[in-house]
């Protein structure tokens, strides 16, 4: 029952946040809904670790290890984003109608995000992924500036292009299943008949879905919309987009991995992932806008997860899951920090910001913390997961892939730290005077920064048993079925 | 064999005498659609009779090409009429003299000499129209080629009579996509080669905008009559190729008797008049394209023809 209840909570919040009961009702309702959803997701995760799979509606709605993991990430980040939005939006907006519209769209977006892992049937998963795109467009365009509208237009155009191409891929996948003798129409059913599916059809379907959903994830060379959309949206929305939306689409792609012939799958996944990591690492070096910096870092990390999944059993899949977790938590924190910096100095340009640690100590410290964490410095979570990827690569004797990965990640680390270092330290410049320069940071934002920093630090030092169990369960879902 | 020659002669006679009637009906219908009364359907005959009785004025700057061209423009459609099925279902005496490509080239010969003759005089409007006619001509060439290739590939031969027998034999193939697309491409080709709207305005008098009409600007008297008659026959022959070979090869004489052949005449005329109705609808509902848009129009015709070829070669 809680499986059906979880998506209904944000849906109810959509309706409630439309009620004109003052400017504080909508954020409060959203926060309450996000907290309840997070609690339900934690409970579901614990039950799944015990029971391996929970079924609400056979063949249509079910949650297994991978879905539960994604649910946890989605609900946690949305809780943090809801908390952060309270203060951020209050500092940015005073129009009650726009605030209500923001929260309504926010809850709709979270609803769509929660829906994706719940679906057991591939075509309906496509629909849910489309929903996440459609319901987030107006959030990207929320600022209503020229840049925001350009970003939103590019976003929706490329999202839909990817969706249409992936749709054909899903049809061909269905065809492959029928050619293998039918079977139950769900992800589990597909895995069961995977060895019998004609390889041509499976590879064609995977190619189409890779191009289509790869556009949505942000793999190079289809990533051009990502820096725009993930920098022009309001910061809590950016956290949701970068932290969990790309992860959700990647989840769909990872569901396809067990269906492919293992040797070919490994090559494709590693090549696509490496191209993304490489392109993002080098493009990072010449950004002029710190939110775009973090957006390119998202492209890089999506590539790392894909490479890890390409390394294969047994270590590769586990590290891919670990990387997914650490990236979601860390990236959302980075965007919260970027939002704090934006509130402090009022501009997104790196060149205009100097000495942030003196102008606004909280924002400066958070930005430095986030940059170190996402770049992969110890003792943060991303360091642990990236190191695990390297280790898995060496274990699989994939030395070339591991070497390239090390080089690219180092370049990216260097790039991020270069820019953030310049921003945080140095002589403070006179702040450029738009409306929000020098605003003191709202207390909810500070609280969110503290709360979101905790898992980033803790998971780099210690891995609780339930998390390990969940990751193992999730990794087993993307491991290929034994082939004769 | 003597009968075959006789039927061939009847065929030529039909083309020569009935072509002005078809043009007359076309103009009358267009005028009726525009809520006017229009000239009589026999007006082209009266025009030709009048022109044959007028004096001819020929520029002294022109050469033998100018004097020779009207005869060529008159004769080339007649030669093509010997090759294509106009009245009969079975090949006639001259049927194997040339195939569809040959027929296309013979028609192009007439057009080529008309262009030369237009340049031959010292009139500035002649070469303007001639260059435009050539542009339309060479853009239409690829469409011709693709259409003929596809048709010949399906029928296994390039002789029009044989193509006609094999093209629409089981009736369900009428709805095949390659068939429909080829029909569309060929209609666009007839509009371009026949100088009809949307490519060119056949009733226009403004020399700067003329494309096909400019070939007969300088002619008078007998030369003018022969050019006009040749133009009517070219349209008639194109319609015959379209209808009798590609679209609706019904109503043609099956038996090898004179009665059957004579009976075929009104049936073929009926078919052509049906097509004339379609032409009238097209001409009355579209506007003339600007000159540089003709490239897009013929490009679309080319794409349609190639799409027909694709669906034929790769389907099933």
């Amino acid at each position: 029952m809680s499986l059906i209840a979880l998506p209904l909570i944000p849906l109810a919040a959509v309706l409630l946040s439309r009620l004109p009961l003052g400017t504080r009702f909508a954020p409060a309702v959203t926060l309450l809904a996000a907290a309840t959803a997070f609690a339900l997701a934690v409970r579901t995760a614990l039950r799944v670790v015990a029971a391996r799979e929970l079924v609400a509606l056979a063949g249509w709605l079910s949650v297994d290890g991978l879905s539960a993991l994604v649910w946890l990430l989605v609900t946690f980040v949305s809780l943090m984003a809801a908390l952060y939005s309270w203060g951020y939006l209050a500092a940015h907006e005073s129009d009650a109608r726009r605030i209500r519209s923001y929260y309504a769209h926010f809850n709709l977006f979270v609803f769509a995000l929660v829906l994706v892992p719940l679906m057991a049937e591939p075509a309906v998963t496509w629909i849910a992924v489309e929903f996440t795109a459609v319901f987030s467009v107006l959030l990207v365009a929320f600022d209503n500036t020229r840049g925001a509208l350009e970003a939103a237009w590019k976003y929706i155009a490329l999202m839909f292009m990817g969706a249409a191409i992936a749709l054909l891929g899903f049809f061909v996948l269905f065809w492959a299943q029928a050619a293998a003798g039918g079977g139950h129409d769900s992800w589990d059913g597909l895995r069961a008949v995977a060895p019998g599916m004609p390889p041509v059809l499976v590879m064609a379907a995977f190619a189409l879905i890779l191009v289509g959903f790869g556009t949505k994830v942000g793999f190079a060379p289809m990533h051009t919309w990502l820096p725009d959309a993930h920098s022009q949206a309001p910061s809590p929305v950016c956290a949701l987009l970068s932290g969990v939306k790309t992860t959700t689409v990647l989840y769909t792609l990872l569901r396809l991995v067990p269906l492919l012939p293992p040797a070919r799958a490994a090559v494709w996944l590693q090549v696509v992932g490496l191209i993304s990591v490489g392109v993002a690492a080098f493009l990072l070096l010449q950004v002029r806008d710190y939110k775009r910096l973090f957006a390119y870092s998202t492209v890089e990390h999506m590539g790392i997860i894909f490479v890890a999944a390409g390394l294969g059993a047994p270590g590769g899949f586990y590290t891919a899951m670990l990387q997914m977790v650490s990236h979601s938590l860390t990236k959302s924190f980075c965007f919260f920090a970027a939002g704090a910096a934006l509130l402090a100095v009022g501009t997104r340009e790196i060149a205009s910001v100097r000495g942030l640690i003196r102008t606004s100590p909280v924002a400066g410290a958070a930005l430095l913390f986030g940059a170190l964490a996402i770049g992969g410095a110890p003792p943060f979570a991303v360091f642990l997961s990236e190191f695990s990827v390297f280790r898995a690569g060496v274990e699989q004797h994939d030395y070339l892939v591991t070497a390239l990965l090390v080089v690219f990640i180092t370049v990216a680390f260097f790039g991020i730290l270069l820019h953030v270092n310049r921003m945080v330290f140095g002589r403070p410049t006179a702040p450029v005077p738009p409306a929000h320069a020098g605003t003191p940071l709202p207390p909810t934002c500070v609280l969110t920064l503290v709360l979101a920093a905790i898992p980033v630090l803790v998971f780099g030092l210690y891995q609780p048993a339930w998390l390990h169990g969940l990751l193992m369960l999730a990794a087993s879902r993307i491991a290929p079925v034994a082939r004769p | 064999m003597g009968q075959m020659i006789l039927f061939n002669a009847v065929q030529v006679f039909v083309v020569v005498t009935l072509a002005p009637l078809v043009s007359g009906v076309l103009s009358r219908l267009k005028e009726i659609v525009q809520s006017k009364r229009g000239p009589s359907v026999f007006q082209p005959y009266l025009d030709l009779w009048k022109l044959f009785h007028k004096d001819e004025v020929i520029s002294d700057q022109s050469s033998w090409i100018f004097r020779f061209t009207p005869y060529l423009v008159f004769v080339t459609p007649i030669v093509v009429a010997l090759l294509i099925p106009v009245l009969t279902d079975y090949p006639l005496f001259f049927a194997f003299m040339g195939d569809m490509l040959g027929g296309g080239f013979i028609l192009a010969l007439g057009g080529f000499f008309a262009t030369l003759a237009a340049v031959d005089t010292a009139n500035p409007y002649g070469p303007v129209g001639a260059s435009r006619t050539r542009m339309v001509g060479f853009l239409a060439e690829p469409v011709f080629m693709i259409v003929f290739f596809t048709v010949s590939f399906v029928a296994g031969s390039t002789i029009p009579y044989i193509v006609q027998q094999r093209w629409v034999t089981p009736l369900s193939t009428f709805f095949e996509p390659s068939h429909v697309l080829l029909m569309l491409a060929f209609i666009m080709l007839i509009l371009a080669e026949g100088g009809r709207i949307p490519v060119d305005n056949p009733t226009g008098h403004f020399e700067l905008a003329m494309i096909d009409e400019s070939k007969s600007l300088e002619y008078s008297g007998r030369g003018f009559a022969l050019m006009k008659w040749g133009g009517y026959m070219k349209l008639f022959v194109l319609c015959c190729i379209f209808l009798n070979v590609l679209v609706a090869p019904w109503g043609l004489a099956q038996a090898q008797t004179l009665q059957a052949v004579l009976l075929a005449i009104p049936l073929v005329l009926l078919k052509i008049l049906g097509f004339v109705l379609v032409l009238v609808v097209i001409e009355s509902s579209l506007a003339k394209l600007r000159l540089f848009r003709i490239t897009e129009f013929l490009g679309a015709a080319f794409v349609t023809a190639v799409a027909a070829m694709i669906t034929r070669l790769f389907a099933f």
């Binding site: 629909i127 237009w153 049809f171 | -």
Partner: protein, 229 residues
């Protein structure tokens, strides 16, 4: 349900629907008027619906018939109406479509893409073929490539989006034959999802028009890494 003697007729009619679908896709590439593009999109959707009905009759599948009815309502009537509403004011300011490439070159590239689509479909058809899949899959793949290409060269918002909708139509056209047993609910939900998308894009286009003054989204190139000149 038709008897066995009617099957060649139905297959030929389906082939005709496919040919007209391809022609409508080429027409969308060749046309210069925004409203003309919209009308050709309606024609393309109508061919899709026709093919759905014909395949439903051939396979004796009520699912495909219902899909045809739903698509008729949504793709032929609702979506164009929603687009025309957002195009409404635009018609009087930007009737013609501007592209990054001229029309004849675009047509030739579309032709090359159609041939590529046919070639790419051959190895898939070699696995399991049927007459219907043999027709719908190559045309769907060709339409997918052409629609994506059209969306990259167009500069105005609504014709660009029409190119993307044509891509989705083509994917669906191929899917009718390739995956006829897909759950009905999924196919219906896909159609509704596209409708919601069209609605949201209408809102976005109106926002762009209000803020920037024109819907020529091809001119929005401010977000990039190079230093502002």
């Amino acid at each position: 349900m038709p008897g066995p003697s009617a099957i060649p007729w139905l297959q030929n009619l389906n082939a005709l629907a496919g040919g007209l679908f391809l022609l409508a896709t080429f027409g969308m590439v060749a046309t210069r008027q925004a409203l003309g593009c919209l009308r050709l999109f309606i024609a393309q959707s109508a061919c899709l619906v026709l093919s759905a009905f014909l395949l439903g009759m051939l396979d004796h599948s009520w699912d495909l018939m219902v899909v045809g009815v739903v698509d008729l309502a949504i793709k032929v009537f609702v979506n164009p109406w929603l687009l025309r509403r957002s195009l409404g004011r635009e018609v009087y300011t930007r009737r013609e479509i501007t592209q990054a490439l001229n029309v004849p070159a675009t047509l030739l590239i579309a032709l090359a893409l159609a041939l590529t689509g046919y070639f790419l479909a051959q190895p898939l058809l070699a696995v399991t073929g049927g007459a219907d899949i043999g027709l719908n899959l190559p045309i769907g793949l060709a339409g997918l490539l052409i629609g994506t290409f059209t969306a990259t060269v167009r500069r105005e918002a609504v014709p660009l989006f029409l190119g993307l909708l044509a891509t989705e139509n083509s994917a669906f056209f191929a899917g009718l034959a390739v995956a006829p047993a897909m759950p009905l609910m999924a196919e219906v939900a896909i159609a509704f999802d596209v409708m919601i998308l069209v609605f949201v894009v209408g809102i976005l286009t109106r926002l762009v028009h209000e803020r920037i003054g024109t819907t020529e989204v091809g001119a929005l190139t401010a977000l990039r890494e190079e230093p502002k000149a």
